[in-house]
């Protein structure tokens, strides 16, 4: 019991190798990393526009001046070696980094033209618009129904019980889970299998009808069959939602995403159409990574 902060382990990036100082990073940058992101950072119909995003954990800088557009109703994947800052960047998009005391974000991230780090922005509605699914399935210790109903409840999305039930059913259906759980909605969500739990978490995120869903390595704790189901689901969801996914699996990035961003040591090295990145990368670092020379 004497582990005061055991449950609150900081997210992966805090422990990951972060540059000791900006000076080191600059020397590395001059060697390998391009001055300006290679490829095409813009998108014709962006839902989010990020410009000059820096993230600091205490004194250490984890993200260096990232510029990136997230296109509407498509999937953008973020790849890169461990500790490259892709998860940290993803967590900037719905201000999840606010929950870490020592994290600080500079720069501009606009959601439909409005900077989400502006002082008058409230994170509660923001996170309702930009939902998140995590690496490890994390259903609440409640029933399946309550897990999905939680978001609509706290945001007051349903007028009455009937409407709430409808939202829960639609969300579970969209997440492809309804058939498997409709007879045991009152059983604990933690009793489901790993893949089902993750789809429950996706249903939970969908239930508040977000515009964007952030997924932080959603399949890394799942077996191949469960992974395939989630990938199919992502493919369907992009009809109605914008999805940003962090993944360690390049095959997954190639399968599900339309654009791919390659991060390296906190810099966004290259971003382009997924086909282009995986068939004809422009930068050497990207090429080395996707051909498995490191990472």
């Amino acid at each position: 019991m004497n582990r005061p902060d055991a449950g609150k382990a900081p997210i992966e990036e805090v422990n990951a190798p972060i540059r000791e100082s900006a000076e080191d990073a600059l020397s590395a940058r001059s060697a390998d990393i391009p001055e300006k992101t290679v490829g095409n950072i813009t998108h014709a119909d962006p839902v989010m526009v990020c410009r000059g995003v820096d993230v600091f954990y205490g004194d250490k800088q984890a993200i260096f001046g990232v510029d990136l557009d997230v296109g509407r109703h498509q999937v953008i994947s973020m790849i890169g070696p461990s500790g490259c800052g892709k998860s940290t960047f993803l967590r900037c998009l719905n201000r999840m980094n606010d929950t870490i005391d020592i994290a600080r974000v500079n720069g501009n991230i606009e959601l439909d033209g409005k900077n989400i780090y502006a002082s008058d922005v409230d994170v509660v509605p923001l996170r309702a618009r930009v939902g998140m699914v995590f690496q490890k399935p994390n259903p609440f210790p409640k029933s399946i129904y309550e897990n999905v109903a939680y978001g609509p409840r706290i945001h007051g999305l349903a007028k009455d019980k009937v409407e709430l039930e409808e939202i829960v059913h639609t969300s579970l259906e969209k997440a492809g889970l309804l058939g498997e759980v409709k007879d045991r909605m009152d059983q604990p969500g933690t009793g489901l299998s790993g893949g089902q739990q993750q789809r429950l978490c996706i249903a939970r995120a969908i239930a508040v009808s977000p515009e964007i869903i952030l997924m932080d390595e959603p399949c890394s704790a799942l077996d191949p069959i469960a992974t395939a189901k989630i990938e199919d689901l992502i493919d369907e969801l992009k009809q109605n939602y914008t999805i940003a996914i962090v993944t360690h699996s390049m095959q997954q990035a190639a399968r599900v995403s339309q654009r791919t961003a390659y991060f390296h040591l906190g810099y966004l090295v290259e971003v382009d159409e997924t086909d282009k990145i995986f068939t004809n990368p422009s930068h050497k670092l990207t090429e080395d990574y996707i051909t498995g020379r490191f990472g």
């Binding site: 994390n138 978001g151 706290i154």
Partner: protein, 461 residues
């Protein structure tokens, strides 16, 4: 005595070096060098040292325990026949006289010549015994050393033997703790059985009249004693209830603040501060309750026209509650921190506010642990003594009114056993019965609490 222990220690040190050197010397004779030995040379040294030290020190210990009774019986058997035929009690007095004479605790010339002679004999026997003890102990140590030294050969499994001895020592230490607890429980149990032979258990458990004063002599005016413990149980529960009403919300809320809301710096400062409360001796809480809180409550009560006893259950309960706050908050803090960060992330990711996350996700997830912590706190409140002795009073009122004086099980145990007592009256034995009840109740609470906490832990690990 201390000299001989020192000598044994030096011998053991010597034995260690002798054993080690012999092992090294033997090793250089084998083909593999040091690798030819089964164990490291140090293990052979330790083996020799332990063989030298342990039997000798054990002998000293036993000797010291047995010596006085052996010498005493010898001295008694040499006393004149008429003295020996005195009753057991008076013979005991004579022996006491002899011991006092030996220790020089009496004025010279105040004793009869035969006692003085016996004292001289006692003294000389003791000297002989001390000399014999030294000789035997040193001989045993040297014998052990020689035996160990001879036993050393490259194939001997010295490491395993040393570790076996260490294990045996550790087992012996833990047996002391276990057997002592067992002894206490059994003694309380047997004394309680004696009590229940005099006072029926049903009267004790269900009677509503508590008045343990009994007449000691037949001609005394005094009550025959009433041992209905219900007023004590009610008083204990009342005070524990008041304490938990204070400690549970305050402790839980402060734990929530510390673990979820407090910035790192505030937490680093406030958590130890709160835990200092746990370090205040209960007797300090006791006079705080008796001298500050109780009069204050009485004053407030009078100002609104209520009659408050100067030793009220409320005062004792409030102060006890404050005493338990750090206990509750520290345990709750631990279980709240054990809720995985993923749960918080999940709620925050849906746009839940901090209070929604705490209320709907963290508290439900931590609830079993919190309940376990609260049960442990209750068992502490029930067993707490000093505060209630000083602040709750002695009157065994059967009441649920917190403004009246009540008494608790622990207070009555203290009262029954302080001062001169005869150990076979129902009055004194009642303390054991009360102790047994207290023991059973806290034991059951602790078992339930630990079970709940453990069950909860399995959920996440």
């Amino acid at each position: 005595m201390s000299t001989i222990v020192l000598v044994l220690a030096v011998l053991a040190l010597g034995a260690f070096y002798l054993g080690r050197n012999r092992a090294t010397a033997l090793a250089s004779g084998t083909t593999g060098g040091l690798r030819g030995l089964h164990s490291l040379p140090g293990h052979y040294g330790l083996y020799t040292a332990l063989l030298c030290f342990l039997p000798a020190i054990l002998l000293l210990f036993v000797w010291t325990l047995v010596e006085p009774s052996v010498i005493t019986s010898k001295v008694i058997s040499d006393l004149p026949a008429e003295t020996q035929e005195l009753g057991k009690d008076r013979l005991g007095l004579v022996v006491n006289d002899i011991r006092n004479a030996v220790d020089g605790n009496v004025a010279p010339g105040s004793l009869s010549p035969e006692v003085e002679a016996a004292a001289a004999q006692y003294q000389s026997l003791r000297n002989t015994s001390a000399r014999l003890r030294t000789v035997f102990a040193v001989a045993l140590a040297l014998g052990g050393l020689a035996f160990g030294w001879r036993m050393i050969n490259p194939d001997m499994r010295a490491r395993n033997r040393v570790e076996g001895m260490v294990t045996a020592f550790l087992i012996a230490c833990s047996m002391v703790a276990i057997l002592t607890t067992l002894g206490i429980v059994l003694s309380v149990l047997f004394e309680s059985i004696r009590f229940f032979q005099r006072v029926p258990a049903t009267e004790f458990l269900f009677g509503t009249q508590w008045s343990p004063q009994t007449a000691i002599r037949a001609d005394q005016v005094g009550s025959s004693g009433a041992f209905g413990a219900i007023p004590l149980f009610v008083g204990t529960m009342l005070i524990a209830l008041i304490a938990m009403c204070v400690a549970a919300p305050i402790g839980l809320m402060s734990a929530i603040y510390l673990s979820e809301y407090a910035p790192r710096k505030v937490r680093a400062f406030a958590k130890p501060l709160l835990e200092i409360l746990a370090g205040i001796p209960t007797v300090v809480y006791g006079f705080f309750a008796a001298l500050t809180v109780a009069p204050a409550i009485r004053g407030w009560g009078e100002s609104v026209g209520l009659s408050v006893a100067s030793e009220s259950a409320l005062a004792a309960g409030l102060v006890m509650g404050i005493m338990i706050i750090p206990f509750v908050s520290s345990l709750s803090d631990d279980v709240i921190n054990a809720v995985p960060q993923a749960m918080r992330d999940g709620a925050y990711g849906l746009g839940a506010t901090k209070s929604e996350t705490v209320k709907n996700v963290i508290i439900p997830a931590a609830l079993p642990g919190i309940v376990g912590g609260l049960l442990l706190a209750v068992s502490r409140a029930i067993g707490e003594t000093m505060i209630v002795v000083m602040a709750a009073g002695l009157a065994a009122n059967l009441t649920w009114n917190p403004l009246e004086a009540v008494t608790t099980v622990t207070v009555q145990i203290v009262t029954l056993l302080t001062g001169d007592q005869e150990f076979d009256s129902a009055k004194t034995l009642a303390a054991f019965a009360l102790g047994l009840v207290l023991f059973v109740v806290t034991l059951v609470l602790n078992v339930i609490a630990l079970h709940v906490v453990r069950k909860y832990r399995e959920q996440y690990e």
